[in-house]
């Protein structure tokens, strides 16, 4: 038994999630959906905005979840893809006058290509090395966006202001609400597509690679293709989320997309449960609302509160929201029988 063996056998990047455990039951899904549709009708515009951001970050966490929970690859660099998506949308809207809805597929495709290309060198890295390389990407991105060469398009340090779209067809709802429902439709579409992706042949290939790369390649899975594909798809979804984010915040600037965002998305995935897609929204809620709560508990100590909460999650519920949901399901089952 050499050190090399241990790297191969013991130090797995992620714990395997059985395929059936990756989604939510029909009943729970419907309840969740109803809440998401009805909820925003009764709250103030600012809260609607926060809920929109909740959905957008949930999409970004979902994208990371496909990459890490699905294909077992790491990324601390999602903020880079998010930034590229946001800038693509912003530039298309402001410089070319493209309709905001049409910029999202473009952002998705550009980010897919970017992720696919980044996936090529990343193929040779795994585990902690991949975390380091993607970390590097995330740290470098804001500085690249500030470069003088692109300043004409990106607005340099100052960034770009994006106009907020009105509700179409003269619908009598506020801009914030319209944007919320627009985001909700996009998010649901992507969620369903992701669930189906993981159930498909490609999804099974991802999971085979995650569980044992060597065995997967012996079974005829094209490891290089599927690993880069996972990177591309994850980047594409993150790009769409970034585009939506740019429209919702109405502003893009290099310093909005620092490593802090990438770390937040990563934490969202850990809290939501790696490989459990519905957990993405729980993780997203954690990264949006917990810093606010921490700030209220003690100003200045918010980082510490955040860190302590994270340690609590790691030690008490290492599988995140998935574990909580499983326990709740088990208890419900017992109640019904009893």
């Amino acid at each position: 038994m050499s050190a090399a063996d241990e790297v191969a056998n013991e130090a797995r990047p992620v714990e395997a999630t059985p395929k059936r455990a990756m989604t939510l039951g029909i009943g729970a899904s419907l309840v969740m959906l109803a809440l998401l549709i009805i909820g925003p009708m009764f709250v103030k515009n600012f809260i609607v905005f926060q809920l929109t951001m909740l959905l957008i970050y949930a999409l970004a966490v979902l994208a990371l979840n496909i990459l890490t929970g699905g294909s077992g690859q790491f990324s601390l660099g999602q903020s880079a893809f998010y930034a590229v998506g946001a800038y693509t949308s912003a530039i298309l809207i402001e410089h070319f006058g493209v309709n905001y809805a049409l910029t999202l597929p473009v952002a998705g495709i550009i980010c897919f290509a970017f992720g696919y290309l980044f996936g090529q060198p990343a193929l040779r890295l795994s585990g902690i090395y991949l975390a380091l390389a993607t970390f590097a990407l995330a740290v470098a991105m804001p500085q690249l966006l500030k470069l003088g060469v692109f300043e004409h398009w990106t607005g340099g340090v100052q960034g770009l202001v994006v106009t907020k779209p009105d509700a179409p067809f003269g619908l009598p709802i506020s801009q914030d609400r319209w944007l919320y429902y627009f985001t909700l439709v996009v998010a649901i579409g992507i969620y369903i597509a992701s669930v189906n992706l993981l159930k498909s042949r490609s999804g099974r290939a991802f999971m085979a690679i995650r569980d044992n790369e060597i065995a997967a390649s012996a079974m005829g899975v094209d490891v290089a293709l599927y690993k880069t594909l996972a990177f591309g798809i994850s980047a594409g979804i993150t790009g769409v989320a970034g585009g939506l984010g740019a429209i919702a915040v109405q502003f893009v600037a290099p310093d909005s997309y620092t490593i802090t965002l990438a770390i937040a998305l990563f934490l969202g995935m850990v809290v939501g449960g790696v490989g459990w897609l519905p957990g993405s929204i729980v993780g997203s809620a954690f990264i949006i609302f917990v810093p606010n709560i921490a700030e209220e508990v003690s100003k200045g100590l918010s980082g510490a509160v955040f860190g302590v909460l994270l340690f609590l999650v790691i030690f008490l519920v290492p599988h995140g929201a998935r574990q909580v949901a499983m326990v709740a399901q088990g208890m419900l089952g017992k109640l019904r029988k009893g």
Binding site: M1, A4, V7, E15, I128, G300
Partner: protein, 292 residues
């Protein structure tokens, strides 16, 4: 030519700090196979302790020693309390743990000593070294301390029983356990030493970058670059990598037009990615072989 020599020497001096950080990163990587993303924050915290001791009137070198002892104990405490229970957890959980530690240390330091920039004294002075205009005594001191540290570590690992035990525990944990080495405590010892080495790096760089809670961000990334360049499994490689990265950073900043301060960071990162892709084992590392 004078400019060239000047930049190389300045590069070697900052490289000494990167070498210390890389050494600290490698110590922990050797022990537990994870990169400590909170290494820089731990070093920053130690530097604040040293500063506080000096504010209380403790002489420089006593404060230095006390800080090392404190950091050593702190490193061991962190390992025992937080990371020992995570030893069997997947890589992902560990990375999350390091990020949590990062947030806690950074926030506590900011709250205790606030975010204003503080001056940090140097015991070497900043006059020209040996009458030469090229390098200051503080820079020479940084290089000297790093080399001294490297020699001490070499002697420790090569010629003491406990150094041998630590190497054994890192290389072949199962076999080491069978011959009666307490591998768990060897890991804790690795953490303690890494924290102490990080403290030295922090104290040496603080007079240059000034003391504040976010001072180690850039330094840590260069430390990672150095560790990766030298190969994550080799302490000697980490030091060589540190010096190389320091010189490279300075030369690129001087001679390639358009690379000002703002692009220095992306360059370190490009270096990390290039090394990882072309030669993942680094210059001195041992390649990881997977047995099927």
């Amino acid at each position: 030519m004078e400019l060239f020599i000047n930049q190389v020497l300045a590069g070697i001096a900052t490289g000494a700090i990167y070498a210390c950080m890389a050494l600290a990163v490698v110590m922990i990587y050797q022990a537990i196979d994870h990169l400590n993303f909170a290494q820089g924050e731990m070093a920053m915290f130690s530097t604040f302790i040293a500063w506080q001791l000096m504010q209380w009137g403790v002489p420089y070198w006593w404060a230095f020693l006390l800080t090392l002892v404190f950091s050593f104990a702190g490193g061991i405490a962190i390992e025992r309390l937080l990371f020992k229970p995570l030893a069997k957890a997947p890589v992902l959980t560990n990375v999350a743990g390091f990020i949590a530690l990062f947030a806690i240390v950074n926030s506590v330091a900011g709250l205790t000593w606030d975010f204003t920039i503080k001056q940090f004294p140097t015991p070497f002075g900043s006059s020209p070294f040996l009458g030469s205009q090229l390098i200051s005594t503080h820079q020479a001191g940084m290089i000297g301390v790093t080399l001294g540290l490297l020699i001490l570590l070499y002697l420790f690992f090569q010629f003491t029983r406990i150094g041998l035990a630590m190497r054994a525990a890192a290389a072949l944990p199962e076999s080491a356990r069978l011959v009666g080495i307490n591998t768990s405590w060897m890991i804790a010892l690795g953490w303690g030493m890494a924290a102490a080495i990080g403290a030295i790096a922090g104290i040496l760089i603080a007079p240059v970058v000034f003391l504040e809670p976010n001072m180690m961000g850039g330094v840590l990334i260069y430390g990672f670059a150095a560790a990766v360049l030298g190969g994550l499994s080799s302490p000697l490689g980490a030091v060589v990598g540190g010096f190389l990265v320091g010189v490279f950073e300075n030369l690129v900043g001087t001679y390639i037009p358009g690379v000002g301060n703002e692009l220095k960071l992306p360059i370190a990162l490009a270096l990390i990615i290039t090394v990882l892709v072309l030669k993942p084992a680094g210059l001195f590392g041992r390649p990881i072989v997977k047995r099927v």
